[in-house]
């Protein structure tokens, strides 16, 4: 066996890379969901100052490349604050912030999609702003948001591949290593691409199922 040949262990290596990518994807999505939704709630309550701050930060995160943000966190922050940032921490911070910004946009439009008339009805019957948000707006906004959110998450899954640049051992980094060792780029990148593809399909499938369940009340079955 030549040094450059594929070995069964390579499959384990690929799966390990996939595991790292998935772990980062899931954790940054969850953090992004919490932060992005919280920002949307701040906007819903029109909290002064905080609301403007949120809009400003979200705009910054949305309108600059993730790779630049990643470099800023990984190289810039340690230099500026004299702290130590590991590649994983940098990836976690950057991707969470980026997801949060886009989830914020989706959450805001989802909240605004709920008809004013229902909100007026709820107000008239004495429900508080929080009760209206929780019982009337949230269930419908969630159903509305699942579509755009699935689209965003499929994209964010691909974006995780950027973190290989700063040395996180994710799927793309493993692909890079295998490629350099075997010098069979077509095989390696096909396998890596296929793994991303399958994961993205899984995300889409889960989103569609969840949406179907949340929309059980509407007669609308699509065109």
């Amino acid at each position: 066996m030549r040094y450059g040949d594929f070995t069964p262990f390579d499959i384990v290596l690929l799966l390990q890379g996939l595991g790292v990518s998935l772990a980062l994807f899931v954790s940054t999505t969850l953090i992004g969901l919490v932060i992005g939704t919280a920002w949307a709630v701040i906007r819903f309550y029109r909290v002064p100052v905080l609301m403007q701050a949120v809009t400003f930060v979200a705009e910054l995160l949305k309108n600059s490349p993730v790779l630049v943000q990643l470099f800023l966190v990984f190289f810039g922050l340690p230099a500026f604050l004299k702290i130590n940032v590991t590649p994983t921490e940098a990836a976690l911070i950057t991707l969470s912030g980026n997801s949060a910004a886009f989830i914020y946009v989706i959450a805001v439009s989802a909240i605004e999609s709920v008809g004013r008339d229902q909100i007026e009805a709820a107000r008239v019957f004495g429900l508080t702003r929080w009760q209206i948000l929780r019982r009337v707006i949230a269930p419908q906004a969630t159903a509305f948001a699942i579509g755009p959110l699935t689209g965003l998450l499929v994209n964010q899954l691909q974006v995780t591949s950027l973190i290989s640049v700063i040395g996180v051992m994710d799927l793309t980094k493993v692909g890079n290593i295998l490629n350099l060792r075997t010098l069979k780029p077509f095989l390696v990148w096909t396998a890596v691409g296929l793994l991303y593809y399958l994961t993205a399909k899984l995300v889409t499938y889960a989103g569609a199922r969840f949406e179907k369940r949340l929309r059980a009340h509407t007669a609308w079955k699509g065109l």
């Binding site: 229902q118 709820a122 107000r123 004495g126 009760q131 009340h217 509407t218």
Partner: protein, 243 residues
Amino acid sequence: MISITGLRKSFGAATVLNGIDLEIRQGEVVSVLGSSGSGKSTLIRCINGLEKIDAGKITVDGFDVSKPRELSEARKRSGTVFQLFNLYPHMTAVQNVALAPIEVLKVPRKQAEAEARELLHSVGLTERADAYPSQLSGGQRQRVGICRALAMKPSYLLLDEVTSALDPEMTSEVLSILAALAKTGTTMVFVTHEIEFARSISSRIAFLDKGQLIADLPTEEFFSATGMALPRVAQFLSKMRKD
């Protein structure tokens, strides 16, 4: 008692209500008539606090609706039924009716839903209690809307053109429920275009024209010589009867 004094409301340059004085006592059914754009719906929306009033005062059982602290008390005393039903589409009929009692009055869910079922039963919706609004006809939706208002056990029922979005058959099914409610002594402020029906259930008629209350008369007086003596009322009634 709902007491309105010197009520003024404008949207930008358009004055919609221009100095309204009106009192609605417990047990009365007051129909508010007037052509489109005369300010009828806005009057209802001022009473339940959906619109901020520009001048004057509205109190519901003494609670001033323009003071945020008193508004919630005022709202507990009045129930609104909307022209376009305004149901929550993600909730079944029962859930629509039980939501406010559970959240605002803190009634236990089981009890609130049992009471909601009873209300729906009383308007002939026993079979449709677990249907979503999108699965109901317009008349059925409005009956749910009425139950939702009644579930809060309001002292006053505010009805904002509740049959305007319904065809004649559905209108009659909703009106028969309102007639039954009027008989039980429910206090109602009834904004409507259904002149004949208003005549049959109201104790008083208030007539709005261009944001002013130009008549506030006992029903039969309104439809007799006293009302006809007012040119605007005579014109309105003759037009509506021709249609």
